[in-house]
């Protein structure tokens, strides 16, 4: 019987092959520790992965623009339901420590940054093409600086992992804000040196210019650095960094306001490309643009404090960047009109990509330089920068003539120019020390009860404090 022999053969094989049969690759479709940083393509995929990760902070319901817009006096909240608990907590300035909020997104992005930096400096990194290597390091350092900048402004002192060693990072204490800023400046200076000047690399970074401004370049690093210096009150450096951008003819304030946020806008210094296919555009638009009464969806119209600040007659930004939606009157209830942010026009989830997430744009650089110059008492230059933004909006030159008046005018202009973009309003109120004065009025009217100055910082997640014995909570959240 032949089968008998086969059977005996199988039994015999069994006695040997045991160990050998387990020599397999864990998954042929996964990059793993051994192979990730040994080739240009893998590294680029890892950097792309970092960009995907950071996107969670840059747009959407738990991104910085919406959460910080709700916390400040920019966005109002009508949404109901469990899904909207987090927006409601931001809106009423009633944040709680059992929520994570933006913390995990920020730190998992930083972990990717640190993993890539560790990996490149490790053994595999030597085989990389130099151009790709420097683009990647520059891009990672730029991203790390961006995340730390927001972390210190949202949480105050924060732990600052700079490697991917989880045993070290899991025990970190909070670093002083000044040290975090120092690191942010260092990373941005490194990025300035590594990233291409005045051009945007395409995906494969082979020194080929790309029409899309979705990879950070030297000017993107400079633009962020200008903002960082402004926050650090280092006005000469802020002015210099902003000039590095404004001086490039590549960047133009789009004369037609409705072109400022489309993906081909010449005003953009760096925009984050939407990686999702659903929506394929800036996810914020889905929450900001009203197509129905706000209570029917998770929709956030503008507050009356913001709409009331506009010169609705002359300011072209009112007509172009603010939309309105009027409900139908009924027998018992009159019609109501809601105003909403309309910088991004594409709110349909299925529309093809035409708008990205504009993180850095030229108008902010003018306003940074205006403020930095005003602070240095360079009033004429300051007014010129401010007027560049005003004139594009169809407004006459500023009437402010003294230093304080000019600074106040710049801040007001920031409110009107940068509304619903990346929490500028909230962070401006904080850095200028005016947050208590404003929120003392606003928070009770938003239904959040009395304002307390400790509310200007987010709580650290309580579980994180439980897990990392060296962490401490922000005041007011214990």
């Amino acid at each position: 019987m032949n089968l008998k022999n086969i059977l005996i053969l199988v039994l015999a094989c069994a006695a040997f092959g045991c160990k050998k049969t387990l020599d397999i690759d864990p998954s042929p479709v996964t990059l793993n520790g051994a192979n990730i940083f040994s080739s240009d393509g893998n590294l680029e995929s890892a950097v792309a992965g970092m960009e995907v990760k950071v996107g969670g902070l840059l747009n959407g319901l738990s991104g910085i623009p919406i959460t910080m817009g709700l916390a400040a006096d920019e966005l109002s909240n009508f949404a109901s339901g469990n899904f909207s608990a987090v927006p409601a907590q931001f809106y009423t300035n009633a944040l709680v420590s059992n929520q994570y909020y933006l913390w995990p997104n920020a730190y998992s992005t930083l972990n990717v940054c640190n993993t890539i930096l560790d990996g490149i400096s490790g053994s595999g990194g030597s085989s990389l093409t130099p151009a790709i290597r420097s683009q990647s390091i520059g891009e990672v350092k730029f991203t790390r600086a961006l995340v730390y900048f927001y972390l210190v402004n949202m949480y105050g002192d924060v732990p600052m992992p700079l490697t991917a060693d989880f045993q070290v990072n899991g025990q970190l204490a909070r670093a002083h804000q000044a040290d975090v800023y120092k690191q942010v400046v260092q990373d941005l200076k490194d990025a300035q040196g590594l990233l291409p000047d005045g051009v945007y690399n395409n995906a494969s970074a082979q020194a080929m210019a790309s029409p899309d401004r979705v990879r950070p370049n030297r000017q993107a690093a400079s633009a962020l650095l200008a903002r960082v210096y402004l926050y650090m009150k280092d006005y000469p450096d802020a002015e210099a960094a902003a000039s590095d951008v404004i001086g490039k003819s590549l960047y133009v304030l789009e004369p037609v306001l409705n072109n400022a946020f489309i993906k081909t806008s010449r005003e953009i210094i760096w925009q984050w490309q939407q990686v999702s296919t659903y929506p394929a555009n800036n996810a914020d638009a889905g929450f900001l643009v009203l197509t129905q009464a706000p209570a029917l969806g998770t929709l956030f119209p503008l507050t009356s404090w913001l709409t009331g600040a506009f010169d609705t007659v002359n300011d072209k930004r009112w007509a172009n960047w603010v939309g309105h939606f009027t409900t139908t009157a009924t027998a018992t209830v009159p019609a109501a009109t809601y105003y909403y942010a309309f910088k991004y026009k594409v709110y349909s989830l299925t529309a093809p990509n035409s708008e990205n997430v504009v993180v850095l744009r030229l108008a902010e650089q003018y306003l940074i330089r205006a403020e930095a110059r005003a602070m240095q008492n360079k009033l004429i230059d300051a007014a010129a920068d401010l007027n560049a933004v005003r004139s594009r909006a169809g407004l006459p030159a500023t009437t402010a003539s003294d230093q304080n008046g000019l600074i106040a005018a710049v801040l007001k202009e920031r409110q009107l120019e940068l509304f619903t973009e990346f929490g500028h309003r909230w962070f401006d109120l904080r850095r200028t020390g005016t947050i208590d004065a404003v929120m003392n009025v606003v928070t009770p009217l938003k239904g959040g009860g009395a304002w307390n100055t400790s509310k200007q910082l987010l709580p650290l997640p309580a579980i994180e404090i439980a897990l990392d014995p060296n962490l401490s909570q922000n005041p007011g959240y214990n």
Binding site: K19, S45, M50, V96, S108, A164, N169, P294, A462
Partner: protein, 1094 residues
């Protein structure tokens, strides 16, 4: 083919001629069998001879012409050790020294010499009580190692010494002993056996009997499974197995079923048992689906046993303790379910038709507010909040017709219908058997608003053959299942029953969705426009090749192959959107899953009698490979609704958001062995071991040894006990051993970067998915078992009690750590300890056993407790983060202490960790009340009554537990007061300062939102959820001989089956089993059917 017939009969049993016939033979060096055949041809005499003897004798030469038969035979046997005797037209051939005396002879005075004339040739027929022939009955000669089985007609022939005893045994029948008393014909009938002490019981890599089993195992037979009109066999096991908790999650067909055998062992490892189908490992993972329609409301996945037709299952054996499971090594920790499918039986070809159909209904629904109460709630909420009715409050501002009062549950639900039809054909000859069956099943969606159905077609077959000499056998078993569901994705149960009772109609008169001038854009019937088609193909096959080269030695190889493929399509057409959203294109998701498994398991078993005992030793090797891949795609940009089911008719195809193609390969090898020794039918010893390797772990940690020792003492075999007439069987058994668990992801030992399914500037993106842990290794479970089996009054009463203690160490777990590390956990082995300890009892009594009436009762009771005994580090913070507490079970509930409703503000309030009422709570630090969500105990009572042709089975089940309280289940999507309906449990709410109640005030503002959100995590959010359920009842009537003869059928039965008939509980929420707001409650099903055998 284990009970191999050693005796063969050449020719047909019939008497034809006298002994004086003449024979002529001219044969040189031919086999005896050739000569026998020739003699038979010439004389018509049959030979009855041991085939082994014929083989041993080899070739002979005979040269005779026209001599009498006797002389010819003398000639044939003259140079052999054989002798012969002629009796009733049959020639009996045997050795001088009859071989049947080689068996053990316990009593020396009974030794038989070569007394040939004491032999009697016995023929007969074995039937059941109704006179049906029983095939495959084993007949053994008492005290001798001789056995044979009945043929397809229930007939047998046996050469036995006179005054000795024959033992008749068959699975499911009571053993009978008959003394040979010179009679040539012994026809006997066997009684159905209830305790089945000596029935064959399937164990890992072999079989045993309940009498000699040293492990803890429960067998559920097809007879019990057939009483359940269910699509998943697990549902039929729900209250039938002590120590096993099976919970359904939703009333929708095909929803996930959770199974834990003796509690959750690990912290994060899967708790699924190992499923073995016909000796081949079957997938234990749930199929993950993109949409939740198959399993409603956030449940994604299909249980793999959905794709094995319960009616094709012969038995399910649930193995629990170390003795029974350690031979499966790494995968035995959570217990093992051995599923044996039906096989053919020798005998005339039988065709069986079985069909049933019936309806399902939701037995009880939540009581929602009517329009009057609802409007009162809404206005009261506005008043409480001091807020005006706004333009957006369509339900109360006059936009919607407030005189409407719709009972939305009625709009949603209809009757579910289940139809099942099966045809099977089986039969076989003496050396081969076959079975072929086909089944079709259809269950439609109870939610008539959405429609659709789940349909399954399956084919099952088995075929086996054994060589003439009984040494070689091959069998092949397999099946194919095709399941398809088109129930629209996303259960809207919660959304529909919480609609305002004055909400507009869901559909316009032309059938289109009604958005009521954009005031009803949240119309939940939108989902009825969404499309689904989820199909699963499942191919299961196993082949067993067995060879017995020497007496007592069997070489066997089991080869298995299993392929499952799931194709899922979910379409979202343009017409399913409110026009106001301006969505002008459709989209669709397409997902393909492929799972392939193969395994090869050669093994050798050697059986030998040593001294007064029998030794059985088994060694084997196992290699398995499992490949799984999943491709989730989304297509967008469809401009025509007619095309959404085509993946290429849109404008783009991309990976589904947040997902990517995945492929995992998982390999597994093991060397296993078992030594079993039964001494004097009294003392039992069983040693098992397995060295296992798995590619889930790093190269240095791949192999691990698992093993167990089991022992038993049948004390009723002791001389002292043997005389007790009322105590017929008693066994004390105990086992200890170590088993393992590797149910984690495949490559945690490496740093993995997985595709995110997205790209940045057209560069495909990958991100790290884990923190690598190179030293990750097996989780081990140490199991101790002590058990007592007692049978009284000839098995009229049987009682089994088990005490068990399983301790799980080297716990595989995602160990919580700060997000600062990039991940909130790292997979590692923790030096913690989790214990499951408890006992269970099974009591079966035959209460009445009359001529026409019988009544049998089985009571099961299980009490067990899960506890974390050790968890490092012991800091409370780390335990809180891991949601653990030493001394409490895995999955402990950490609850805020409720302080009721504040009589002044009307809001829920809670105590903080310091015991003060505090509106600013820190969770989880303030959650100081710890509760065990697991059942405290559970049990069931099953009664079987038979009266003439009727049989009635009734099973009642009790679970003692806590569950989410009526208060948390009072409102689904928003606190009471918002624009969604709530249950009448909220009517006792706070209304004015000074009111003392436990229901928060109606409110539609965010100030009341936060205290409400804490409710479910507070002591007020949990309550007693004990329930008793009439789980199953079945009534069958089998027609008697007069009817079946008239209809020319062998068997005819009609039956009614009922499932989930009645629930008794004081639980105020919904279904105490699912405890879920969002899932359709478990349904009540009543079916009627007919079974005919031709």
């Amino acid at each position: 083919m284990k009970l191999t017939a050693l005796l063969i009969v050449i020719g047909v049993l019939q008497v034809s001629a006298g002994e004086a016939q003449k024979v002529t033979l001219h044969e040189k060096n031919v086999s005896l069998s050739k000569i026998f055949k020739e003699i038979r041809r010439q004389t018509g005499y049959d030979f009855f001879v041991d085939a082994e003897l014929v083989r041993r004798v080899g070739s002979v030469s005979v040269d005779v012409s026209d001599v009498p038969l006797k002389e010819a035979l003398d000639n044939c046997f003259k140079n052999t050790s054989l002798t012969f005797r002629i009796e009733n037209g049959t020639i009996l051939v045997d050795e001088d020294k009859p071989v049947f005396i080689v068996g053990r002879v316990p009593d020396s005075t009974a030794v038989l010499g070569p007394q040939k004339d004491s032999l009697v040739l016995i023929r007969g027929k074995v039937t059941d009580q109704k006179g049906n022939a029983l095939a495959g009955v084993t007949i053994t000669l008492k005290d001798y190692n001789r056995a044979m089985t009945t043929n397809a007609g229930g007939e047998y022939i046996f050469l036995a010494p006179n005054h000795r005893t024959l033992i008749f045994t068959s699975v499911g029948y009571r053993r009978r002993e008959v003394k040979v008393n010179g009679a040539a014909i012994i026809n006997i009938s066997l009684d159905l056996d209830i305790t089945e002490l000596d029935a064959t019981q399937v164990i890992a890599y072999g079989t045993t009997t309940r009498r000699f089993n040293t492990g803890e195992q429960t067998t559920v037979s097809s007879k019990e499974i057939e009483n359940y009109p269910v699509a998943n066999v697990l549902t039929a096991l729900q209250a039938k197995v002590p120590g096993v908790m099976i919970t359904q999650t939703s009333g929708v067909p095909g929803s996930p079923v959770s199974v834990t055998i003796r509690g959750q062992n690990g912290l994060n490892t899967g708790s699924n048992p190992l499923y073995i189908v016909d000796g081949v490992p079957y997938t234990m993972d749930e199929y993950l689906t993109q949409n939740s329609n198959i399993a409603h409301g956030g449940l994604y996945g299909q249980n793999p046993l959905n794709f094995i037709n319960p009616l094709d299952i012969e038995s399910v054996d649930i193995l629990k303790d170390a003795d029974a499971t350690a031979i499966y090594g790494s995968r035995g920790a959570n217990g093992v379910m051995l599923i044996t499918t039906k096989k053919g039986r020798s005998g005339a070809t039988r065709v069986t038709l079985n069909a049933f159909t019936g309806i399902s209904q939701v037995p009880y629904l939540p009581h929602m507010l009517n329009t009057q109460q609802y409007l009162q709630m809404r206005h009261e909420a506005k008043k409480n909040d001091g807020l005006p009715v706004t333009i957006l409050d369509y339900d109360i501002n006059g936009v919607w017709d407030t005189t409407r009062n719709t009972n939305w549950a009625k709009e949603l639900l209809g009757n579910g219908q289940t139809t099942n039809a099966q045809v099977s054909v089986s039969g076989g000859g003496p050396n081969s058997t076959f079975l072929l069956s086909g089944n079709y099943r259809r269950q439609n969606n109870l939610e008539k608003l959405f429609g659709g159905s789940d349909q399954t077609a399956s084919l099952h077959f088995s075929a086996g053959t054994t060589s003439q000499d009984g040494k070689f056998s091959v069998s092949l078993t397999g099946g194919y299942t095709y399941d398809v569901s088109d129930i629209p994705p996303g259960d809207q149960f919660a959304n529909i029953i919480t609609l305002a009772p004055d909400a507009p109609k869901l559909f316009n008169s032309d059938g289109s969705l009604n958005f009521q001038n954009n005031t009803f854009n949240g119309n939940p019937a939108i989902n009825a426009r969404h499309l689904n088609r989820t199909s699963v193909n499942n191919v299961l096959s196993s082949a067993v090749i067995s060879y017995r080269p020497l007496p007592g030695l069997e070489l066997k190889a089991t080869v298995g192959y299993n392929k499952q493929q799931m194709n899922e399509f979910n379409g979202f057409p343009i017409s399913g959107n409110p026009p106001a959203l301006g969505i002008t294109t459709g989209s669709a998701n397409f997902t393909t899953d492929n799972n392939t498994y193969w395994s090869v398991e050669p093994q050798a078993t050697y059986t030998r009698d040593i001294s007064k005992g029998r030794l059985t030793a088994t060694v084997g090797y196992s290699v398995q490979k499992q490949t799984e891949d999943q491709l989730p795609l989304t297509a967008t940009g469809y401009t025509s609704d007619a095309l959404v089911s085509s993946p290429t008719a849109g404008t783009s195809i991309k990976p589904l958001q947040g997902q990517s193609y995945s492929l995992t390969v998982y390999k597994f090898t093991g060397v296993f062995g078992r030594v079993n020794y039964i001494w004097d039918n009294k003392y039992l010893l069983n040693l098992t071991g397995r060295n296992d390797g798995s590619t889930k772990f790093g190269p240095d940690n791949r192999f691990h040894f698992f093993g167990a020792v089991g022992a038993g003492w049948i004390f009723t075999e002791e001389r002292l006990m043997k005389g007790l007439p009322w105590f017929n069987y008693g066994k004390l058994r105990a086992s200890y051993g170590v088993t393992g668990n590797d149910q984690i992801g495949t490559s945690y030992y490496l740093a993995n970067f997985n595709s995110t399914g997205t790209s940045y500037q057209n560069v495909p993106a990958v991100t790290p998915t884990n923190i690598p842990n190179p030293v990750i290794s097996w989780e081990t479970t140490r199991k101790i078992e002590v058990a007592l089996d007692l049978h009284f009054l000839h098995d009229r009463i049987s009682l089994t009690g088990n005490y068990f203690r399983n301790r799980n160490s080297n716990l595989l777990s995602g160990y919580a750590q700060s997000w600062i590390t990039g991940f909130n956990q790292v997979e590692r082995n923790l030096p913690g300890l989790v214990q499951n300890r408890g006992f269970d009892l099974t009591l079966t009594t035959v209460n009445l056993q009359l001529k026409d009436f019988s009544w049998t009762t089985t009571v099961l009771f299980t009490k067990m407790r899960n506890q974390v005994l050790r968890f490092p580090p012991s800091s409370p913070a780390a335990q809180i983060a891991a949601n653990l507490a030493v001394g409490y079970p895995v999955g402990v509930l950490r609850l805020l202490k409720s302080a009721g409703v504040n009589p002044t503000t009307g809001l829920y309030q809670y105590y903080d960790a310091t015991g003060h009422i505090n509106p600013n709570l820190n969770q989880p630090q303030d959650n100081v009340v710890l509760e065990d969500p697991n059942p405290k105990w559970f049990g069931s009572i099953a009664n079987t009554f038979t009266y003439k042709g009727f049989s009635l089975d009734v099973l009642f089940r009790v679970v003692r537990q806590i569950g989410r309280s009526a208060l948390t289940q009072a409102s689904y999507v928003a606190p009471p007061g918002f624009a969604s309906n709530v249950t009448t449990a909220t009517l006792s709410r706070w209304q004015k300062p000074g009111d003392v109640t436990d229901v928060q005030r109606y409110s539609a503002s965010f100030l009341s939102f936060t205290p409400y959100l804490y409710l479910g995590n507070s002591t007020a959010g949990w309550s007693d959820a004990t329930y008793g359920r009439l789980q199953n009842a079945s009534l069958r009537y089998t027609f008697g001989n007069t009817v079946t003869k008239k209809l020319h059928v062998q068997n005819l039965q009609v039956y009614v089956l009922g499932e989930n008939l009645l629930t008794i509980t004081s639980y105020g929420g919904f279904d105490p089993e699912t405890q879920s707001l969002y899932h359709l409650p478990l349904v009540r099903t009543i079916t009627g059917g007919l079974q005919v055998t031709f």
